[in-house]
Subunit: 201 residues, 2 copies
DNA sequence: GGAGCACCGGGACATTTGTCATGACTGGCT
DNA sequence: AGCCAGTCATGACAAATGTCCCGGTGCTCC
């Protein structure tokens, strides 16, 4: 019996997946959590064989949770399940020690198959996405550029960002300008869009 | 037997819902579509009792599809199913003749119950959301303000927008300024955010 | 026949944003 | 030691943005 931990914040998706996976003869969902920061503590008590993690979750992202599991429960295989096939997500998932990366596309049957395959030691990765991740390359943004761009993305003015990050306004402008240049865009809005699209944010 | 048409673009959610609804004794998913503009044509051939529509879909939104069904197949009840509980979405859904509005939260069991209730002639609406929709009120933006704000939201500069919408740059600035004022925000990014959050975009 | 509103545009203005050159400090790498 | 990248900062400048006037057109409603 394969013991699965399911982390997914959207209620309907969570309950649907749990029901459908339980229908499989060899799979048992032993725990479901709705927040990223609940993954590791719960996993430590229920000891699942596979953790199925959404990326966008409150508390902590699935990628952070994956890194936590690698350190805290190395025997547990991590399968990332996400809505968005962002190249940067895949890259970060692999760096966090994930064994598989699936997009919430394609039928649910694939999911059970993927669970069995990661448990058998295989890596499960969408080939289209893998190619995109390789072609897009790694994020060109430095940590600070990412911070500043993320802050700018939700409408903060230069002065707001400078206060939030304890930087001078000039510095913020420089980082923002660098981010715009590196993303090949023309303003902060476009820069934030492409960064998000590539999973760099 | 309740005949259901399911419109949902995300593969995993679509197949999961279809499977689970088919497990119900009195419900049968007679058609699934992945695009908003497929809803009406398919519905006209399969004649479902209930249409379960996602809002965010390629081709046409679920709200547009709902309006199309009201005109083309008035006997068919429309149940909107969406990720985002935006007040404006609910309002527009009701205006498009929807019989119910559900958020993709809460368990899947609710869905089957909602289907039976709309078929019985009831309106099914999340009470929390209904209150939010009433308190938020209708969109203060005029058509043009919405157009301009939507264009600005994905990074277009004033000059880009003026070309795209065949307006003078002065006019674009005026509309944008009006949108910022009406949303009570400080720049186009914040304005776009709150407009999106309220379902005004 | 006003009053009100959505629409479209112009001009002037202050503010914000983005660019560029420059420099200091740090830590890592060779 | 020299070199490079990342971090933080200044100042100056051009360009874009946002605000506030103003004017005109149509349309609807009372």
């Amino acid at each position: 019996m394969i013991k699965v931990l399911l982390a997914e914040d959207q209620g309907m998706m969570r309950s649907a997946l749990a029901l459908l996976l339980d229908l499989e003869d060899d799979i048992e969902v032993v725990a479901t959590v709705t927040r990223g920061d609940e993954v590791v503590p719960v996993a430590l008590t229920v000891r699942p064989d596979v953790a199925l993690l959404d990326i966008e979750m409150p508390g902590a992202s699935g990628l952070e949770a994956a890194a936590g599991l690698r350190d805290g429960l190395p025997g547990c295989k991590v399968l990332i399940l996400t809505t968005f096939g962002r190249p940067g997500y895949l890259r970060r998932a692999m760096e966090a020690g994930a064994a598989g990366f699936m997009v919430k596309d394609g039928p649910v049957e694939d999911l059970a198959a993927a669970i069995r395959r990661v448990l058998a030691g295989e890596k499960v990765i969408d080939p289209v996405l893998a190619a995109a991740a390789l072609s897009t390359g790694t994020s060109p943004l430095t940590d600070r550029e990412r911070d500043v761009l993320a802050a700018a993305a939700d409408g903060a003015a230069i002065s707001d960002i400078s206060r939030r990050l304890h930087l001078s306004e000039s510095t913020v402008r420089n980082y923002l300008s660098a981010a715009i240049g590196k993303t090949g865009t023309r303003n902060r809005i476009e820069a934030a869009r492409t960064a998000r699209h590539n999973g760099w944010l």
